[in-house]
Symmetry: C2
């Protein structure tokens, strides 16, 4: 009996944190149109929670995670990954260095979020960004939004300290109810300043969203889900070698 | 600044199915005592849903998954996995062949379930087993229970067809309410025949358990959770090189 074609291999550099990586894998599975196991795509997930804190490094308060990020990317590339996804927003501060180190395309989580905004019909206006202090400070989302003609709304230093950072810490500690009430306050602050959609630009934040939050009138863009959707769109396309355009688009 | 010791690497051969693997990773993260990312353990997860159906192969109705299982185990070993876990019960039908192919210890999901029974104070009596027809037919749980002095109670062919297999199909199709009512009937049948605890020996089954089921008087042993707990117990022990006993116990 001929062996089934194994199909593309999605490389995932995860563990930042580990629950977010599990959430990312669940979303990749749920977003795949499948009637049996064999319809799903292969993935190789290197979950390395020991990578130094990205946000602290961006703020100059801790060691650079770049050596470990590079080791992770090289591990995935060496094992035949056809594409690499990194379900951690802050890590994208080092995206240029990672892209330069490997021939394997890396799907940017910021590009994936932009793709989702457009798929949801949001093409102009002010977009709120929630994330670690490092992600906000690094400007990765503000720059990507500006290039696509959006304005951006970010939390103040006080809002980061009082609501955003405590949300992330509570998720990492498994205290989801605490996280949810902090997140609600952070969202309300950006709504008040005119955000027409809000990017949950830290993979811990969507874990604190329940139905009551996800049904607010302001669209919340789950960056983990955006990245998973972009990976599955890429894999569907890679499995049809005659149409490579979306691959090049996503990987560019 | 000295680089942090990366700690042990938990190898996971997954994708059977992909949602069960995501569930396994979530449980590993939740079972780890951690206050920040860096307290978690590293893992390398090769999720290969293209591995042929294990239950069909056991029943002689499909190709053997052994070549792909071996390739998965070798991939994890080649990349430095210190231990390997396979969150798929039916795949354990080929455990002896996999163990023989690598020097890396493989934690058996059946051993992990036995460990949980004992940790819950269940040391004698009849244990019910629910799983795919292939898992039940393979006898992996019955043999492991017998070796530890337990009797086992399994579903009849009719119960497999009417309740167990429909539960698994409904979970794979996302119809959780349907799955739950089938699972309840399967559990009641084993209780009637004297099961004092019931092993959910298929990684789809725990997904159909809600509070009303988990609070029944008969303890339900979630094999995915048992395997995750055994991996974390192993990793905690491996991180303390002075006490290797539990490692050897689990990996034996």
């Amino acid at each position: 009996m001929p062996m089934r074609r194994p199909g593309p291999l999605i490389g995932v550099l995860g563990g930042m944190g580990p629950l977010a990586t599990a959430d990312f894998m669940r979303q990749m599975a749920e977003l795949t149109s499948a009637s049996c196991d064999q319809d799903h795509y292969r993935s190789l997930v290197y979950s390395n929670p020991r990578i130094p804190d990205r946000s602290q490094a961006i703020l100059g308060e801790g060691p650079s995670p770049l050596p470990e990020l590079l080791e992770g990317v090289m591990t995935l590339a060496r094992n035949g990954a056809d594409i690499i996804a990194i379900p951690c927003n802050s890590a994208h501060h080092w995206l240029d260095e990672l892209v330069a180190a490997t021939r394997v395309p890396i799907i940017s989580i910021c590009d994936a979020v932009l793709r989702d905004l457009i798929l949801r019909g949001i093409r102009t206006g002010a977009i709120g960004i929630l994330g670690t202090r490092g992600t906000i400070r690094s400007g990765i989302y503000q720059e990507r939004l500006r290039l696509s003609g959006f304005a951006s709304v970010e939390p103040t230093d006080a809002e980061l300290s009082k609501w955003v950072e405590p949300t992330i810490r509570a998720v990492k500690a498994g205290e989801i109810d605490v996280a949810r009430s902090h997140l609600r306050r952070a969202i309300e602050a950006l709504e008040t300043r005119g955000a027409e959609a809000i990017v949950l630009g830290c993979t811990e934040l969507p874990i604190a969203v329940d139905r009551s939050l996800s049904e607010t009138s302001t669209p919340l863009i789950d960056s983990t889900r955006s990245l998973a959707a972009a990976c599955i769109a890429w894999a569907m396309d890679a499995a049809r070698p005659e149409t490579r355009n979306a691959v090049e688009l996503l990987a560019s």
